[in-house]
Each structure stands twice: as C-alpha cells, then as structure tokens.
Amino acid sequence: MSWPDLRDLLWEGIKETAWMVGVSTVLTAIGGLLIGVLLVLTARGGLLPARPVHAVLGLVVNVTRSLPFVILLVAIIPFTRALVGTTIGTTAAIVPLTIGAIPFFARLVETSIREVTPDVVAAAVAMGASRRQIVAKVLLREARPGLIAGLTITVVALLGYSALAGVVGGGGLGDLAIRYGYQRFETGVMVATVIVLIVFVQLVQSVGDLIVRLLSHD
C-alpha cells in the first residue's frame, strides 16, 4: 500500500477512534460520576443512606462489569438500535462503549471519594454545609486527583474496547487493523495502527498524570 493511501486510512481511523472514545469518555465521565457519587451517598453511614438503592445500584454495576465486552456489545444491540437508529458504525459503537465503561469508572469514582477522610466531611457538616455543597466542594473537589487518575485508566480502557468495537463494524483504528492487517495480511497497516494506538495511550496517560500532579497537594 502506498504511503498516501495508508496515511488517509490512518487519518480516517484516528478520527473515528477519537470520536468514539471522545464521546464515550464524556458520557462515561458524567454517568460514572453520578453513579459513583450515588454509591457513596447511599451507603450505610453515608450522607443519604438508602440500603435498597445502594444494593440495586451495586448489583447493576457488578453485573455489567462481569459481562465480557463482546457479549455486552451483542446483548444491547436492540437498545443501541432504539437509541441511535443503527447498530453499525462509530456512533453506534459509542453506546456499548459507554455502557461498558460507566460501571468501571463508577467504581473508581466510588473508591476515590471514599479516600476523602470522614473527618473532613464531618468538619463540613459541622460548618453547616448542605449535602450539595459537601458533594461539590468537599467530596469531588478533594477526590479530584483520584478522579482524574481513574478517568485516565478509563480512557485507556475505552481505547482498547474501541478496537474491539471494530469487530462489529464499529470503525476506527481497531477496525482498520482487523480489516487490513488481519484479513488482508497487510502487515504494514497493522504495525502502523498499533503504533498509533500506542502513541494514543502514551499521550492519554501522560496528560492524565500531568493533571493529577498539578492537582495533588499532598
């Protein structure tokens, strides 16, 4: 394959992957934060204890996390179709990616928030902070380094899963590697794709680490 062709292919793959992973990351961040915070709040001794809510939420998270991604991909096809009107292509891949990543990130959010010492939360309550203020100004704020580290791990995982989404015609770099590298024995394309993916992961991790470093003050 000629370089201009390869370049165009790669560029197309990069754009598709960036779109899939980018949108999934934003949606996952929102969903994961929401569920993670809820898991902490509704836990026993939490700020808004609610046993049943906590139990159901925990179960849903665990079930989703224990499903192999490929199975999840297939299992939610009807849901995907209902939501985006199609089951192939990058936009369709965003649905299973997000649904797979939210519980993963939610647990990381939960863990990070639990690291905030109860002492500090008690101090805020003693100062007359409302629940909303405690979540925003104490829990999420104090947990920021952990949250960013967790999001970094999640983005890297999403990159990996997005390659898998290629299997069902999701597009992106993974799709490229499979279609050309694997099915047509174009080793050059395969190697180039892998290199691009490595660069992606390195980039995400470095940026994540940098932000964590800037946010940590201990």
Partner: protein, 325 residues
C-alpha cells in the same frame, strides 16, 4: 451559652450496645472555657459531637446560644451550625485548598461576598499568626500551623461558641502551649465560649475555668475548678496535682493539703509548724497558677497521731485536708 440536658447517645451494632453518653447535664456560661476530661472511650467525643448535633442524641436537649438545636433539622440546623465553630484533633483541613481557601470555605457556605471574604481571611490569618502562609497548602504546614488554620477557619463566620475535640493531642508540648495561649486570647478578646475535650490535665490547668470528669458516658464530677479543688476526694484535683506515693516515717501521719485562691500564697505550713511546734515534712506536691485560680496541693508528713489541732487549723484557713495514711 451551651446547655446540654439529659443527653443520651447509644450505639447499637448486631453484637453489642454501647451507651456512649449516658444522661449528661452540662452548662457552659458565656465566655467560659469548659474542659471535659476522661479516659479513652469514656464518650467525650460523642458528647462533643452531640453539642452541634453531628450526632443526634437519642434523648435530651441541646441548646446553643439560645437556639435549641435538638428541635431543628435541615436548613434551620445548618444555619445554627454556621454560628458554632469546631476544631478537630487531626485538623480536618481540605488538602486541595490553600490556607486562605480553607479559611474561606465556611464563608463560601454562607455566601459571604468575595471582597469581604478576602479581608476577613487576612484578618484571621494575622490573628493566628499565619499572615505569610496564605498560599501554602496544608501538606506544607507543621501540625501547629495546621491547627492554627483550623482555628482561623472555625472563627471565620464569627461564632460565639467554639467546640474543640483534642485540638492539641497531635502536637508537641511547646506547640500545644502556643495553641492553648491562642485559645485563651480568643476567649479573653472575643469573649468566645469554649467547650473542649482533652485527656491532658495540662490543658485543663492552663486554660479551663470549669471542668468535668467523664467515665463510661457519665460525668462523675463537674464544676468550677476552684470549687472542685475544695471538694473532698475530687478526682480532678488528684489529676491536676498528682501526688507521688510517699511512705510516712514511723509514727507520722500523712496529710494531703489542697489550697486554692489566696490561700495558695499564704505561709500556711509555716504557721502550722510554728503554732503547734511541729516538724512538718513535705513529701510532694506543688503550687501553680491555673487559668481559674492559683492553687496548690501538698502531701505532708506530720509527726504523731494526734493531729486534730493542725487539722482544724488548716481547715479553718480554708484548706482542704485529707488524711492519706
């Protein structure tokens, strides 16, 4: 200023029930520093957490600055809490905020406008002696400095009451002394009422006007310090002035003499010695200036078993005399 009436708090777990606070009554007057001492597990922290309803008592009422907290909930309780400062053993500062940010925190909660916040932060940091560390993060401060930030933060919204749970327990003796001095100054200058928990008698000695001893959830004694010192068998007096066991010589009677107020500075023992022609031996003890009074407690050995004369004399001079052996 702080009125705790019949407060009880029970913790239940599957295995056991702990009555952490058991029917405690406590009144802290305006401008008073009240100390609660007791062993680990006595229920001191639980009691303090009941004072701002961090723990809601199972029974009894808590009234602070004229507001009955136990009758409130939600927004009204939060509003009341804005006027109660609290200082914590492990400082409980926000690690993600600078010193200035930590002091700003309670003001943000109550919606103090930014320019006003700025001015108040500068004023408070000056007050606690951290004027030059506004931009430092807690991790960059020493324990004593962190506690100063904790105190500045507690004072930010001008509370009239300060609650302190072992504020100096994590600090070395010199730093402890400086923090206590700060609390005493705040009490004098702002008329701040302070309810503090400690397991160090030194804290009670140096700043408390009144104190209570807590054991298994109950107050075993409680009152103003000069009055407690005059109370026979007072545990607090023993704690404030520990007397080492010293054996009496043959035919000697050992007396523990406690004096407080003006009596502490009178040559009482010399008078007894002269008047009854006795050779007294001092076995131990000391005289000190407490926050509330000047007081002393001495263990002395008196020759002979017939001691009614000196005993009555000492008592007539206002001393508390207990026969130790």
């Amino acid at each position: 200023m702080i009125e705790i009436n019949g407060v009880r708090k029970t913790y239940r777990s599957r295995r056991r029930t702990v009555v952490a606070v058991d029917d405690v009554n406590l009144t802290v007057g305006e401008g008073e520093i009240f100390g609660v001492v007791g062993r680990s597990g006595a229920g001191k922290s639980t009691l303090l957490r009941c004072a701002n309803l961090l723990e809601r008592p199972d029974a009894g009422t808590v009234t602070v600055d004229g507001v009955e907290l136990t009758a409130l909930g939600g927004r009204r309780l939060r509003d009341a809490r804005h006027r109660i400062g609290m200082v914590h053993q492990h400082f409980a500062l926000l690690s993600s905020r600078t010193v200035a940010g930590n002091v700003a925190f309670p003001m943000e909660l109550t919606g103090v406008p930014r320019p006003e916040r700025r001015a108040r932060i500068a004023e408070l940091l000056e007050l606690v002696g951290l004027g030059d560390r506004a931009d430092a993060y807690p991790a960059q401060l020493s324990g004593g400095q962190k506690q100063r930030v904790g105190i500045a933060r507690a004072l930010a919204v001008r509370p009239r009451v300060l609650l302190s749970d072992e504020a100096t327990s994590a600090l070395d003796p010199d730093t402890t002394a400086s923090i206590l001095e700060l609390l005493r100054d705040l009490n004098k200058e702002l008329g701040l009422t302070i309810l503090l928990i400690t397991h160090e008698m030194g804290v009670v000695k140096s700043i408390c006007h009144s104190a209570a001893v807590m054991r298994e959830g109950r107050f075993t004694e409680s009152g103003e310090i000069p009055e407690l010192l005059r109370r026979p068998g007072s545990e607090l007096a023993r704690g404030l002035f520990p007397l080492s066991a010293a054996d009496a010589g043959p035919g000697e009677t050992v007396l523990d003499v406690t004096v407080s107020g003006g009596g502490a500075d009178e040559p009482l023992l010399a008078e007894v010695s002269r008047r009854f022609d006795l050779d007294l031996r001092i076995l131990g003890g000391g005289v000190e200036t407490l926050a509330a009074t000047r007081a002393g407690r001495l263990r002395i050995a008196v020759p002979g078993a017939e001691i009614t004369g000196p005993l009555d004399y000492l008592r007539s001079r206002g001393a508390l005399v207990e026969v130790a052996s």
